[in-house]
Symmetry: C2
């Protein structure tokens, strides 16, 4: 036991480009997931060396746990017949994950290694939209017919549960392969063997369409606490299954996407450590330039109030404080809303209730911040400047919070991703409006 | 099937305070998870009315799917003997989740409803640290002894697998209850019934300590693709189990925490829709005020360069553009790093490699942004202003990116949470440094 934990720690911290200690004996005692991690981290040639220490049968087990980019590299380094062996024996969903990130040329050469039937299956799965359930599902599954006897069904299951996939839930289909029910293996075992399957059906299966968003699969599996979710087409024909460990990965990827969007970074298809500088540049430059255009309005706002600034130069001292507080308050409320909308904690129709709550919160925050800054205002510029900065702070904190709270709702209303209301975007918008509010108040009271 | 999907949609959009249609028949055909959702959303009295339509046996099934705050309300509304029934029959992990969010007074009155043995168990679980595996684990599990025969073990499992918990993985312990292995039920069924359990052991179980962070449980379950993770104490004694659906919820909560931190919001123990305005105020005001102190340095920076500003007032126009770009670039790289550190994609020892990559990316971004702004500079203030703003933009974009990239690493180095390097904090720091860089360059070239 202990050796396993140490091994896991060893693997997690494994950083070397080569793995001197690799030997057939050590590999035999390692978990395939750990071998996969190491094969992803060492240099390509080293990975080949380690892979070849493994019996070919284990390649197929290890492969899904290797980083996708490395899987491709290995397949290109392996002899044709070894590549064919792996592509033939991978689970369809693991194969689809590998194929979907290839260049068209690579895809063509890989498809040439596969049987016609596998190619047809793979192309069908790749035909489903990006990030859909169809791309994610495993098409290897066991289903029994409703008119069979339990005895026949159990024999069929025993004969067809290949490669150690655990079968706890048994899917029942009719003669047209339409999903009729999902029955626990336990209930099967408790029934009379001569009964027909349909006699123990409850017609209570939760299912999902293949073209639906994979986030919906996460939601269903989480909500209904199920281990295997059946995937169907428009006619309820059973196409595949999605398991809880699939959605664990999806949930992490989706959260990462939302994170990146909140930081105004485009969606990375690769992990940060695999992404090239050029890719990172492309994913960041668009938003940076776009936000500059928003900030030009801030500049224009300041230029418009040049006379006020020249008359009361101390106002510039408070500019970053006031403007930044507005942006910070906005970033806070945008973050809360975007995440709550993503997890389903809040729905877009809740906007009015959330708006009321946000108003209360932001008035409280505005009063606190105004009190905090008024002292500095009085100290730096006298009572009238103190009043102006306090009033401006009160207004911009409320305004920033409102922008941050409402923009995600507006985006989701127009079927856009609420996470587009990123912290930098909210900050930039709050800047523009904050500058205008601040100098308008200053001009009114001080000139 | 279809009716189920519509029901799920109905429940997701369910918003009413009362549920007129509630009837014994409808409730009978609903999934317990959906009933739980509705009981969480209607008014407390209404929830009581619906609950009482259910047979008492179903209460225990539905209860874990009701929002925690509502569970408490219902227990307080129910008659003592009904409350006792629920608290006695809830799974220990569900009960712990309920008990850990009570006030001391509530806890005392609830503990009084429970048997001495249950109280002992509950207090033991509450004794583990917040967000530890011990709080999360289920202490109802079935384990067999290594020296038993397979026949005896299977009989024991059949007799002790209560309340429909599926048993796919069987934990093997020795005479001192120390975990020896985790064996698939399948391997059990294939073995010879007269063999001893130890004869089919492989000693390959992955386990976790009860006081470890629950995030580590998520990592292990995800990495090793396991459905049930055994929890042990310092002597490897088996204490409980954590299942993949538990960690699915934990992973979501942890991602939400990181989100909130990235937006400079304190950790909310409640969902956003349950949180009161007062709680939200408290979770936000600290960071807002703290960030103001950082921004005072921005103000001071501007005040320090007052002479430069008065001499070349057009510089103020570019102030928000340059300063905001620095903050935006910093927010981008901080977001990328914080998330990569959280998912384990990047470890803190990778900082040098990531720094090199970030330098390349930020030089590229800096050149692009400098070119973009130089035109506006020339147009608004002539060639020399164009040069100054371009140079300043180049420097601040690189500087902002460096701050955003390095701060999460520094925090993780000092065992602090990298997510503390929130977008608003990075923006505020980048503001201060950006202002100093900008006006230093301007003073050098223009005065």
């Amino acid at each position: 036991m202990e050796s396993n934990i140490n091994m896991a720690e060893f693997v997690q911290e494994f950083q070397d480009d080569v793995w001197e200690d690799a030997s057939v004996e050590i590999l035999e005692n390692m978990h395939i997931q750990d071998i996969g991690t190491i094969l992803s981290r060492v240099l390509p040639d080293e990975a080949m060396r380690i892979l070849q220490m493994l019996p070919r049968k284990r390649w197929v087990e290890v492969f899904p746990y290797i980083a996708l980019a490395r899987q491709t590299e290995l397949l290109e380094l392996l002899r044709v017949k070894d590549g064919r062996y792996i592509l033939t024996h991978l689970y369809p969903d693991d194969r689809t994950a590998l194929l979907e990130q290839l260049t068209p040329e690579q895809l063509e050469s890989f498809l040439r290694l596969m049987s016609t039937e596998d190619v047809k299956l793979a192309l069908k799965q790749l035909g489903y939209p990006d990030e859909s359930v169809g791309r994610l599902m495993n098409t290897h599954f066991v289903a029994v017919k409703a008119h069979w006897t339990l005895k026949h069904a159990l024999e069929y299951i025993r004969a067809h549960s290949l490669r150690g996939e655990t079968v706890n839930t048994i899917f029942v289909i009719d003669r047209e392969r339409r999903l009729k029910d999902a029955i626990e293996l336990r209930d099967f075992l408790l029934g009379d063997l001569s009964d027909r399957v349909e006699s123990i059906m409850e017609d209570s299966a939760i299912s999902i369409g293949a073209s639906e968003d994979r986030e919906e699969a996460v939601r269903l599996i989480k909500h209904y606490d199920i281990e295997v979710l059946p995937v169907v087409d428009h006619h309820q024909v059973l196409l595949g299954i999605v398991t809880v460990d699939d959605v664990l990965d999806v949930a992490e990827q989706e959260a990462t996407e939302d994170f990146h969007k909140m930081g105004s970074v485009g969606v990375l298809d690769l992990s940060l450590s695999d992404a090239s500088p050029a890719l990172l540049y492309r994913k960041r430059v668009g938003w940076l330039v776009l936000l500059t255009f928003v900030n030009i309005f801030s500049g224009a706002g300041i230029a418009y109030f040049e006379a006020t600034i020249e008359a009361v130069i101390v106002l510039v001292f408070f500019l970053p404080l006031i403007v930044a507080s507005s942006g910070n308050a906005g970033a806070q409320s945008a973050t809360l809303m975007v995440r709550a909308l993503a997890t389903g904690d809040v729905q877009s129709r809740d906007w009015l209730r959330m708006w009321g709550k946000e108003l209360l919160v932001s008035v409280g925050l505005g009063v606190t911040m105004a009190l905090a800054i008024s002292w500095i205002g009085v100290w730096r510029g006298g009572a009238d400047v103190g009043l102006v900065v306090a009033l401006a702070m009160f207004c911009v904190v409320i305004m920033g919070s409102m922008v941050g709270m409402l923009l995600p709702f507006i985006l989701s209303r127009f079927k856009l991703d609420p996470a587009t209301a990123s912290a930098p975007l909210i900050t930039s918008i709050a800047d523009v409006v904050g500058i205008i509010i601040y100098f308008t108040i200053a001009t009114t009271f001080l000139l």
